[in-house]
Point group: C2
Chain length 594, copies 2
């Protein structure tokens, strides 16, 4: 079967767990209502299900081609992109004054999840444009915003992020592309960038490249990097695409997956560009793009996981093999009734729901951080957003790979055959833990920047929320909820101990970094588990008040409980791994370095 957007799950996560509707109180989202949310999600679901999903496998098979600098995307992508533009999807979460619909970023994240799930290769194009729009809003001049934002927010033009060079990947500061003043306020940008997603394509009428480069005499490293706007076609006096700029795609990568997404080598040969923000302040602008993009990549992880899960779930209902202990009717029974297959489905489903809740909670926090009228609330929300971004990016994308791998496994031999589609998710999903800052970089960001922020305040606040929910579970009248508290509390305690160890003032940086990756996993699991418990409490309220489908509500409690036993219960045991210290990492001889 093809993907069907899980609207009920998405609404539950947005409204019952991430409390998106609370954003109305900020005064910034007057139009937000239950009906509007439902209508937007249904429309997006239709677009994802009916337009994008059918292009997913053909796009993978066909891939992109480059000829004379022009990239042809797979059949149907152009038309789908036109429908994307027509639907106004690119502008959903931007302010009306910039030409957007003025809806919450959280709702935009939900729509993005559907794009990514139905067709990850397609969804990457709009995702990159999001980041560029945010960078322009935050750092562009008034003229730049007036000229570019309407086109980008409308989707007629797309955008790219040009960071990576062969010698400068995770180490952005090592880049060599240079920009020299042209004398008329513009700059001549020269250099080569690699791994440029949707760097060239045939879907939009113009492409706006945001390019990191060095100006003459710039300091070394990240302090000497500036951000430039380099349009493929230089806008003419009317703002329409004019003269072709000296930038072109000179290569396409042959990748493991996302074949429908053109990953370009871009050559800038004295291309005309304009500085965004101040000279040498490119890293700040880049972080604006990156923060947006990191959450979006997390959402992408959720999306690809969901798509893989749905495919496996359908297969598990249809495929009949052997005798299941509690199978109904005569064998062969559907494999979903074999406990081991049901467990694999449950692992994927529970982690997907947890990661989705985490991403949406992060997005609602971003909305609050931007729009809450109260300064302290904004500051609180900003801390929460910043703390969650590395978790949303890294944990969700790891779950994307895990769910895709489970999806292959559930299919058995059929999972290894390309035509089944399970293998494509496995190939597609594998990029997300790498780009927009590898998951290792996320762990360093968490331990090196987010954890020590304001003396550890963001994590303390999170722990407080977690313990409050544990209390809610412990005192619930529904006997299925107190066992959640039993797993959540020790997990929170372990998290606190691990954080204490990592931020101890005597701790060597290398020791903290050695434990960063398992620590990120621990915080994510505890946070994800907490949010599922928030969902369970909400589900219990629904049951009590007889609101909505009781089976659905019961299901949320079952999922929280499964996650608590299968994941949360083991979380505290990660302490030894996290607090191992660098000394216990094997040396070169042990690793076989010659």
């Amino acid at each position: 079967m093809t993907y069907r957007a899980p609207v009920a799950d998405i609404r539950f996560a947005l409204q019952e767990i991430a409390a998106m509707d609370g954003l109305k109180a900020t005064g910034a989202f007057d139009e937000l209502s239950d009906d509007l949310t439902a209508a937007v999600l249904e429309e997006a679901a239709k677009f994802a299900n009916d337009v994008l999903a059918p292009l997913n496998r053909s796009g993978d098979l066909e891939g992109c081609t480059l000829k004379d600098g022009a990239v042809t995307t797979p059949k149907g992508f152009r038309q789908a992109y036109a429908q994307f533009v027509e639907g106004g999807w690119q502008g959903l979460q931007f302010r009306p004054e910039h030409g957007g619909m003025g809806l919450p970023r959280a709702l935009g994240s939900a729509v993005l999840e559907m794009l990514q799930a139905s067709n990850m290769a397609f969804g990457l194009g709009p995702m990159l444009t999001f980041g560029a729009i945010e960078a322009l809003i935050a750092h562009g001049s008034e003229d730049q915003r007036a000229l570019y934002l309407p086109k980008l927010i409308g989707g007629e033009w797309s955008a790219t992020m040009n960071l990576t060079e062969p010698q400068a990947g995770s180490d952005v500061g090592a880049l060599k592309t240079r920009a020299e003043p042209d004398g008329d306020g513009s700059w001549a940008v020269t250099g080569q960038k690699i791994f440029i997603t949707w760097g060239e394509h045939d879907c939009a009428e113009n492409i706006v490249h945001l390019v990191l480069a060095r100006t003459p005499g710039a300091p070394e490293g990240t302090k000497g990097i500036s951000l430039f706007l380099v349009p493929k076609f230089i806008p003419d006096a009317k703002g329409a695409p004019g003269k072709r700029n000296a930038v072109k795609a000179i290569g396409l990568e042959h990748k493991l997956g996302i074949h429908g997404s053109p990953t370009c080598v871009m050559e800038f040969s004295g291309a005309r560009g304009w500085l965004i923000g101040a000279e040498n302040a490119g890293m700040a602008a880049m972080f604006t793009m990156m923060n947006s993009a990191r959450l979006n990549v997390g959402v992408q992880g959720v999306g690809v996981a969901e798509a893989a899960y749905q495919r496996a779930l359908t297969f598990a209902q249809e495929r009949r093999q052997g005798r299941a202990p509690d199978g109904e009717g005569p064998p062969p029974h559907a494999i979903i009734d074999h406990p081991d297959v049901r467990r694999m489905l449950a692992v994927a489903k529970a982690k997907i729901e947890a990661a989705r809740a985490l991403c949406y909670h992060c997005a609602v926090s971003a909305d609050e951080a931007a729009f809450d009228p109260d300064e302290e609330e904004r500051a609180w929300a900003k801390r929460r957003e910043e703390l969650l971004i590395p978790l949303a990016k890294a944990w969700s994308t790891d779950i994307g790979v895990e769910a895709a791998s489970l999806g292959v496994q559930i299919h058995g031999g059929m999972g290894y055959i390309e035509e089944t589609g399970a293998a494509q998710h496995f190939r597609d999903a594998r990029i997300a833990p790498i780009y927009e800052g590898t998951n290792g970089i996320q762990a360093m960001d968490l331990v090196g920047r987010k954890l020590p922020m304001q003396g550890g305040l963001p994590l303390r606040e999170l722990l407080e929320d977690i313990r409050q929910t544990a209390e809610d579970c412990a005192t619930s009248s529904n006997p299925d909820l107190p066992p959640l508290a039993k797993r959540l509390r020790p997990a929170a305690d372990a998290l606190e101990r691990a954080a204490k160890w990592l931020t101890d003032s005597r701790r060597e940086r290398a020791d903290a970094l050695a434990g960063a990756a398992p620590f990120l996993k621990l915080v994510s699991e505890v946070t994800g588990g907490w949010l599922l418990c928030v969902g369970a409490v909400a589900a219990q309220r629904r049951l009590k008040e007889d609101v909505g489908d009781p089976d659905y509500a019961e299901g949320r409690i079952e999922i929280a409980r499964f996650f608590a036993e299968a994941v949360l219960a083991a979380a505290p045991a990660a302490l030894a791994d996290i607090c191992m210290g660098e000394d216990l990492l094997p040396g070169d001889a042990a690793l076989g370095v010659e």
Copy 2:
């Protein structure tokens, strides 16, 4: 870089951990000596490094083609196969009376690891032949053995296993292929088999298909299955390939990986075949093949993990990015010096060494079970072999996928580009948890058959060995060893508790099956960790006696220690997951079944 067989690691695991040299005492391996082991491994390494590894990527790119029933393997495969035959590699572990070299299966496993690591697609061909040889030795008639064994053991002819049909995958008993008596002692076999590895190819002069089929009036299910030998060319009076039989490849699967291995749809149209063993006793013969094949697939998991690891290790030494906390010289530093990258390498390396030790211990046990003159020793070894087979198969292949995924991650963006080679390992590795009995089937075998065997004796014996090694570590004069005992003991205790819960006489079958997969992981981690501790004790003895390279010995202790902290310390926390029971698996509504 291309793969270099890790001869030192392999010898350490074979001789110091799995105690292969102890097999001499059985009297069945008189020629076995340190020199011979070294010579065999060096020769095999040469073949793997110089002949097979260079064909790995080209084989992946080129794949196999089917035309008019004939399969062409990738360029170079035929020549490599000829060298394989010439080297006598197929017969290494078979008895001289059958035309083999009479060396231990354990040594054969080590050689097989190199074949699989250097070129998994190629290595699959010989692997299938191994299983067929074992089935013929165990169940074939004298005539069948005389006719087929010399050709198969010599490698001139290859063999296949024909089990799977579209409706009969894990549920072998559901197969429909039928065999009817021809009247002259032979049978006419008719049906379609899928996923037949090396079912047709151009490397060997004949292909011997072992085919599961039903005879007229056979009981339903697994009790009515018989095994037939169906040669591609029917041997003439001189035993040379004669008349073409009515079996042919009618399709090739388009797979995620192992493109160089032809995965065929085979059609048997009244093909002439001969019964192997008794009518309706096919499952027993199949289990002979399967037991052999399962350990071999585990070895394959180790191999592909090693290949992926080596590639990542080389990249991590060459790639320079940013400033590492303890980096030497001016930045950028090699990424191996970033703690997070070193941790990823360490996780892969430690798990590979543990899984290798587990597979070789299983192989040595198989040798003892076959050849020890003492009946009790044989019985003990058989119990150990049987207990370890599902672990070797499932855990090693999961590690294959994990190490390949870590390998991609360590490469960063380059890992996602096919030409780097990391992605191929990721694609190739993914099949191993599926075939020869999915890893879920292995978990069912462990919990349903191996664990309750003889009242739980095999696991009790294993726990005894583990606790003895913990004692050895605890009392060691080397201060690095007692901490191993600190992690090993509680892990063994947890394993014992989990086993007790699973085998409790009041336990429902569904509850035990619900915990089977995490239980398999726990037994494997504890067993793998134990074997690394056995290695650490041996390394300490070497250090004390000043034998061999002290850095290498120190490295083994570091790896054991890392595994103990990163994996063993968390093992006991799996209890909640294992002992959850079926009731806590989410129901259909929770999973989103409509």
